[in-house]
Symmetry: C2
Subunit: 409 residues, 2 copies
C-alpha cells in the first residue's frame, strides 16, 4: 500500500486521558481511535493487525476440531434466567437496553448461556458429541474503571470456544489439546516466551482453571512463576496447600505482574444442568453434557504485544501480526515505485512511504509504526537499499537482487 | 466437511412466530438460530454463506479504492449531538444503554457521524483526499415490528462505505464507480438479473438517492420498473414530474414489490458541516469535504438470495455463496471417504453426508440445504456417481474421472 493513500497518519499526542502505554502508542501510530474510555475504533492499520491475530487463532481452533459460528450480541433474558445470571445483583457488568415494547435485552458479556441454549436444540445422542463451536464477536462489559487502553475494554473483540463432551475423560482430552493450541497461538503472535500457563481459581467443577499470563508491568494480575518448570500460580490461589498440590516450592517462585491473555475453564455441568442439556448414551440412558470454555481477547492480545515488545521509539510488531512486513521509505528526489512493485510481486506486504515530507519525519514514523523491516531508498545510496530490522541497530546495504533473498529468510 | 461432525441438523419446523420464508428456510436447514424477533445467531453453515458474501463485497470495495477499518458499536453522545441526531425525538430507532457512571451511550445504527468525527482528525489538506473508508460491522436498530426474518433485523451485519471527496465532481466520479461495483456484487451473489437500480428520495443535497431493489413478493417496497431501460423508480418519488425528469413513460412501467438490498447516497456537506470537516485547497483557501454513503446489509442480502431463488423443496444457493459446492451423499452399505478425499484435494468444497440414516432423509436434507451440486454414491450405481444440479430435474451418471471435469465447468 502506498502511504499517501492511507488517510491516517501519526499523531504527536494521544488524548490526555489516555494513560496506558498500549493505547498511547497505538493511537499515536494511527492504529486505533479512542471513542471513549474503554471503547476504541480500529483504523485500517489496526484492523490489519487484528485480522492477522484472528487468522492465527482461527487456524489453531480449526486444527483441534473447532467449528466457527457467530452468536448474536443481543441476549434474551429468558435464556439467562435459566442459569440465574440475568439479574444485575448476580452479574454486575451487564449492559442492557430496551426494545420498543419495553422488553429488556442484554448485550453479550460472555457466551456460555447462548451456546448451551443453541446446542440444546441440536444435541440429542452420543453421536452428536463432542462439539466444539466457537465465535469471534464483539463483547460488552460494563467496567467501572477503564484505564488500561485495549487491555480492558467496555467493548472488545474476542474469541470464545465452548466444548461439549460426553464425560470428564473426553472433556480433559480436549482441554489438554486446547492448552497446546493456546501455547501455539501465543508463540505465533510473538509473546510465547513471556507467557506462562498459570493455575488460577477453578469453580464448583474443577480445582483450577488455567490462564495464560504474559509478563508486563502494566498487567493487573500478580503471578508466582517457577521459571524452570515454566508454570505459574495466580495470586488468587497462592496458598501453601495449592503449592503443595502442584509440587511447587515457594523458594523457587518469583512474583511478577502479568496480563491474562487467555483462559481455559472446566465448566462441568454448571450450564448444561440449567438448560437440561442431556444426551442419550449407547445404553439408552441419559446424561448431562460436560462443558468447557476457552477465551482469548483479541484487542487485549494486540495491546499486550505492543506493551511488551515496544521500545522508546515506538511499536515493534512481530512479523506474524505486522500490518506490513516491509516499510519502504523513499527519500530520493526523483521517485519511482519500481522496488515497491517488485516486492509486491514477490508476495511481500509493503507499506511504501511515497509522501513528500522530510526524511526525519519518515524515519521517525517508521519507528513509531513498527513494521519489522525498514528499507530505505535514497540518493546517497545509489542503487543500494538500506535494510534495518526494527528493534535492531544493525544496518546493511543490499542490491535489488540480494534484498529479496534477505527478506525471504 | 463430514456432516457427522457438524453439530447442527435440519429441523422439521421453524419457530411458530417465524412468518418470513427466508428465516423459516434458513432455520429449518440449520443456517441460523432465532434468538428473538429480529435477532438471529449464525450457525456454522450460515456463517459460511455470510463470509462468502462478505468476501465478494470486500473485493469490490477494495477494487474501487475502499480501505477497510472497524468503528466501535458504542457511540459517544457528544459526537451525535453535533449533527443533532442523538435525541430520540429526532432518531426514533436508537438503542441506548448506560455506563456505570450514568453516561448514556448509543449502539451504532449508522456510521456517518462516527466516520466524519474520525476523519476530522486526519483530513487537513487536499492531499489527504479523496478517502474511501469502510466497515463490516454489527448494527442495531430499534424496529417497532420485526417480522421479515433476516430482511429487517434489530441486530444485523452490514457493510458501509463513506466517501470523502474534495468537490461534487470528484464525488460523482466515485459515486458512479460505486454504482458499478454494486451491480457487480449483486450479479456475483446471484440476484443481479432480479435487481434494479432504483431512483429514490434524495435529501437536501441531491434530488435522488439510488437503491438496488431485488424483486420479491416479500419485499416491503413498491417500485415501478422500465424493463427495457433496466431502471426503476421507488413509489416514494413516483410523480409525473420525476418521471418526466428521468424521461420515463408511465405506460412502460410495471409495479412490483421489491426489497432494498443496497443504497448509495450523496450526502453533500450535511455531515462535514457540523463536524467542520474542512480541507485546505492548493490555493490556501478552505472548503468543506463532500460526503457520500454506500450501504449493504449482508443478512438482508443473504435472506434475499434465499427468498428469490428457493423452490418448494428448500434453498437453492448460487455457487458463489454456497457454504459447500458439492453435497456428497453416501448411500452405500459399505462406506469409505475416497471420493470425498479426491474432491477435497481437487479444491472443491464438499459436505460429505456420511451419516447412518435413511436415504430418504439424506436426499430431502440435501434439497432443503441447497448446495449447488448433489452427488450420490450408492450400491445400485456401482462405480458411477449420480450428479444433480440443485433446482434442475436432470440427473446424470459419471465415472470418478469424469466427475471432476464436470464439476470444474
Amino acid at each position: 500500500m502506498k502511504q499517501s493513500q492511507l488517510f491516517t497518519h501519526t499523531l504527536k499526542e494521544s488524548p490526555r486521558d489516555e494513560v496506558s502505554l498500549n493505547a498511547q502508542l497505538l493511537i499515536k501510530a494511527g492504529y486505533i481511535y479512542k471513542e471513549m474510555a474503554g471503547v476504541y475504533s480500529f483504523l485500517p492499520l489496526g484492523l490489519k493487525v487484528l485480522n492477522k491475530i484472528e487468522k492465527i487463532i482461527r487456524e489453531e481452533m480449526d486444527d483441534i476440531g473447532g467449528i466457527e459460528m457467530r452468536t448474536s450480541v443481543f441476549q434474551n433474558q429468558e435464556v439467562w434466567q435459566k442459569s440465574n445470571r440475568w439479574d444485575d445483583s448476580v452479574v454486575d457488568n451487564w449492559f442492557k437496553t430496551k426494545l420498543k415494547n419495553g422488553t429488556e435485552v442484554g448485550l453479550s458479556f460472555t457466551n456460555e448461556e447462548a451456546y448451551a441454549n443453541i446446542l440444546k436444540q441440536y444435541i440429542n445422542s452420543y453421536k452428536d458429541l463432542p462439539a466444539y463451536p466457537y465465535d469471534f464477536k464483539t463483547i460488552f462489559r460494563n467496567e467501572a474503571r477503564s484505564k488500561s487502553g485495549i487491555f480492558r475494554g467496555r467493548e472488545f473483540y474476542w474469541k470464545a470456544l465452548y466444548s461439549f463432551s460426553k464425560d470428564e475423560e473426553e472433556h480433559y482430552e480436549f482441554y489438554d489439546k486446547a492448552k497446546e493450541a493456546y501455547r501455539k497461538i501465543f508463540q505465533r503472535v510473538g509473546v510465547g516466551d513471556l507467557t506462562y500457563l498459570t493455575f488460577a481459581s477453578g469453580g464448583s467443577f474443577s480445582k483450577f482453571s488455567h490462564e495464560f499470563q504474559t509478563l508486563t508491568k502494566a498487567g493487573e494480575d500478580t503471578i508466582y512463576i517457577d521459571e524452570k518448570k515454566g508454570i505459574a500460580v495466580n495470586k488468587e490461589v497462592y496458598t501453601d496447600e495449592v503449592l503443595k498440590s502442584l509440587k511447587l516450592d515457594k523458594n523457587n517462585l518469583v512474583e511478577r505482574k502479568a496480563v491474562e491473555v487467555g483462559n481455559i475453564f472446566s465448566l462441568g455441568t454448571k450450564f448444561s444442568a440449567p438448560f437440561n442439556l442431556k444426551y442419550v448414551k449407547p445404553d439408552g440412558k441419559e446424561d448431562l453434557v460436560v462443558m468447557g470454555s476457552y477465551g482469548i481477547g483479541l484487542g487485549r492480545l494486540m495491546g499486550t504485544i505492543v506493551e511488551v515488545l515496544a521500545d522508546d521509539q515506538g511499536i515493534i510488531w512481530p512479523k506474524s501480526v505486522a500490518p506490513f512486513q516491509v516499510h519502504l521509505i523513499d527519500l530520493r528526489t526523483k521517485r519511482d515505485d519500481k522496488i515497491y512493485q517488485i516486492l509486491q510481486k514477490q508476495g511481500f506486504e509493503v507499506l511504501y512511504d511515497d509522501r513528500k515530507i522530510s526524511a526525519g519525519i519518515k524515519l521517525k514514523d517508521a519507528d513509531l509504526m513498527g513494521m519489522p523491516y525498514r528499507l530505505v531508498q535514497s540518493d546517497k545510496l545509489g542503487d543500494k537499499l538500506e535494510l534495518k530490522r526494527r528493534g535492531s541497530k544493525e544496518i546493511n546495504l543490499y542490491s535489488e537482487k540480494e534484498i529479496i533473498k534477505v527478506l525471504q529468510e
